[in-house]
């Protein structure tokens, strides 16, 4: 039973760090590395061994409608692997980057809490438990955004906290209404009972959840906090927030609730289509005009989340395949881009693209990996972003949604334009820069290289043969919708 350890390991590590860290950060770094490596191994191992089965764990042996259960299926393991990879590289990157700010062990304790919250949200099978884990990870995210201690960071963190609290209240209200309608908090039981109650309940709760989780995923009308928070945070945290937090707390929960619990009513998938397309277009238009590199990347997060949502809205197996694949790819290339932006800021002391120039001599690793990441995000073959965007667009065409497919292509072209701007001004510009303030060392470089290699390797996931092992079980979990009930409750004795 390895399921509870996804929560126990990071939570225990956070606790131990505060206990034994002392004044310096050596112990904190070592402990968190051990913990994150263990999580990475666990999640990869369980994904490879589980294939298509669903494992459940009943907390302290309380029978199902009373106790809390943890559920692990292919979608869970897939998201867990994503979180673990990004947190591993982010930690690696943090060691040098955060020491530059301070030798503080508290950073690592909060970081582990952030991972605890995300893993908890991903593995839980109980709605209120989901809310609690969601709050744990949001707390840590608020604190980490403000970590640098400059005025802008407090401003962004305040904005983020207000928006986060409002969204949590909406989510809580939704959960309360769902509880009053079904007398259950277990997601599988709710899915079982929901067809027998008035369908208006689903619409009310669905609306509240779209607003609540949409705020966390920064879907278009709810996006205002994201550019501030993600561009003000320290670079490794921006990578965590943009790479995995908005997906674990936003998109993953939306998939779980709307597909596995609500059985994906057409009205909601249509809303996803519209919101996704709006996010793609407006996000990318706002991004093109930015000169602050991290802000530009943050706006692109909104636009790329739009692609994932569009894929989910199409709701054919191919569309969902594209969405799930893009989920993983976006985590990898967006984190890599934030690392690039971070190391430029670290080395040059600026994020303004106009003040950068030709960095190929002074920061070779950063400029090369940024080229790979830019090609990935703008959808140039053979990198991963090309395949996932292509799948989503093909799925849209197959489903007869020509307009949406066209807008998605426009979004992709504008993405390419804005990353040509990044490369043109930021990394391969005219004024040749020969001296830097701080040298970027091997830890930051290797974090970037790992992700750059993954940018190429993950595109292999569409190759037939590997696809059956990696993406297809995940898609099956989503397309089977409320089969989730049988899979979860099947092996348990339910009263």
């Amino acid at each position: 039973m390895i399921l509870p350890y996804y929560v126990i390991i990071p939570l225990l590590t956070a606790f131990l760090i505060t206990l034994i860290a002392g004044k310096k950060d050596y112990w904190a770094i070592m402990l968190s590395f051990i913990a994150i490596s263990a999580l990475l191994l666990l999640s990869v191992f369980s994904f490879l061994t589980m294939k298509e089965e669903t494992v459940t764990y009943v907390m302290s042996n309380w029978s199902v409608p009373i106790g809390i259960i943890l559920v692990q299926d292919a979608l869970t393991s897939y998201t867990l692997i994503m979180v673990s990879i990004i947190s591993f590289t982010s930690l690696m990157y943090s060691v040098q980057y955060i020491r530059h700010l301070s030798m503080d062990w508290r950073y690592y304790a909060i970081f582990m809490l952030l991972v605890t919250g995300m893993n908890g949200v991903i593995v839980t099978g109980d709605l209120f438990n989901l809310f609690v884990f969601l709050e744990i990870s949001l707390f840590s995210a608020f604190a980490l955004v403000a970590y640098g201690g400059r005025a802008e960071e407090f401003e962004a963190a305040f904005k983020y906290t207000v928006m986060g609290s409002v969204s949590s209240v909406l989510v809580l209200l939704g959960i309360a209404i769902l509880y009053s309608a079904t007398s259950n908090l277990n997601m599988a039981k709710i899915a079982q009972i929901l067809p027998t109650v008035d369908s208006k309940i689903t619409y009310w709760v669905g609306g509240l959840f779209i607003a609540g989780f949409g705020l966390k995923a920064a879907i278009m009308p709810f996006h205002t906090w994201l550019p501030d928070a993600h561009s003000s945070a320290p670079a490794p945290i921006s990578a965590m927030l943009s790479g995995v937090l908005i997906k674990a707390l936003g998109i993953y929960v939306i998939i779980r609730i709307f597909f596995n619990v609500f059985n994906a009513p057409e009205i909601f998938t249509n809303i996803f289509l519209v919101l996704g397309t709006i996010s793609i277009i407006i996000g990318v238009f706002l991004a093109v005009g930015q000169w602050d590199m991290k802000r530009l990347l943050a706006y692109h997060s909104i636009s790329q989340i739009g692609y994932i949502l569009l894929g989910l809205g199409i709701a054919t197996p191919l569309g969902i395949l594209g969405a799930v694949f893009h989920l993983f790819n976006h985590a990898i290339f967006k984190s890599l881009l934030f690392y690039n932006a971070g190391s430029v800021e670290y080395a040059l002391g600026t994020r303004d693209l106009r003040k950068m120039g030709n960095l190929t001599k002074v920061l070779p690793t950063t400029s090369q990996t940024s080229l790979i990441a830019s090609l990935s995000i703008s959808g140039i073959p053979p990198f991963n972003g090309f395949f996932s965007k292509l799948i989503i667009i093909i799925a849209a065409v197959q489903a007869g949604l020509m307009g949406y497919a066209f807008l998605a292509i426009i979004g992709s072209i504008l993405t390419l334009a804005s990353f040509m701007k990044v490369q043109r001004y930021g990394f391969r510009g005219d004024n040749i820069i020969s001296s830097i303030i701080n040298p970027v060392e091997w830890r930051m470089n290797s974090a970037m290289i790992i992700l750059a290699v993954l940018c190429v390797l993950t595109s292999l996931m569409v190759v037939p043969g590997i696809k059956e092992l990696t993406l297809d079980p995940v898609v099956k979990v989503i397309t089977e919708k409320t089969q989730y009930v049988q899979l979860v409750l099947g092996g348990l004795n339910v009263h």
Binding site: A151, L173, S232
Partner: protein, 112 residues
């Protein structure tokens, strides 16, 4: 029914405060009001007319009781709100140190 409507009214007061107010402290208070409204709503969902507190003492006959689970949920959510409020007040203090004002129209170094 009236109770639910009043409760929802309280929730709307909270939302109104968050959106309209310009003062950091008032925004924090509005967030609190919003949280309380939802907590109240959850307790109301567990209420049954004419039933007693949910403790089954020895030798007593089982009579209709209110649902104890929402009360447990509310306790948890109050604790969470306490944490959020503490954090956001700390942020407001830091903002006051940096900008010298609680007025959000003057705290605008981030834009675009």
């Amino acid at each position: 029914m009236l109770v639910y409507i009043l409760c929802f009214g309280l929730f709307l007061v909270g939302i109104y405060g968050v959106i309209v107010k310009r003062d950091l402290v008032k925004i924090i208070l509005a967030l609190g009001i919003q949280g309380y409204a939802v907590n109240l709503m959850i307790v109301l969902f567990g209420y049954r007319n004419g039933s007693i507190y949910p403790i089954l003492a020895k030798g007593k006959e089982p009579v209709p009781m209110v649902d104890p689970l929402p009360q447990a949920l509310v306790l948890t959510s109050i604790v969470i709100e306490l944490g959020t409020t503490a954090l956001i007040v700390a942020l407001a203090i830091k903002l006051f140190e940096k900008y010298g004002t609680f007025d959000i129209t003057k705290i605008r170094r981030l834009s675009g």
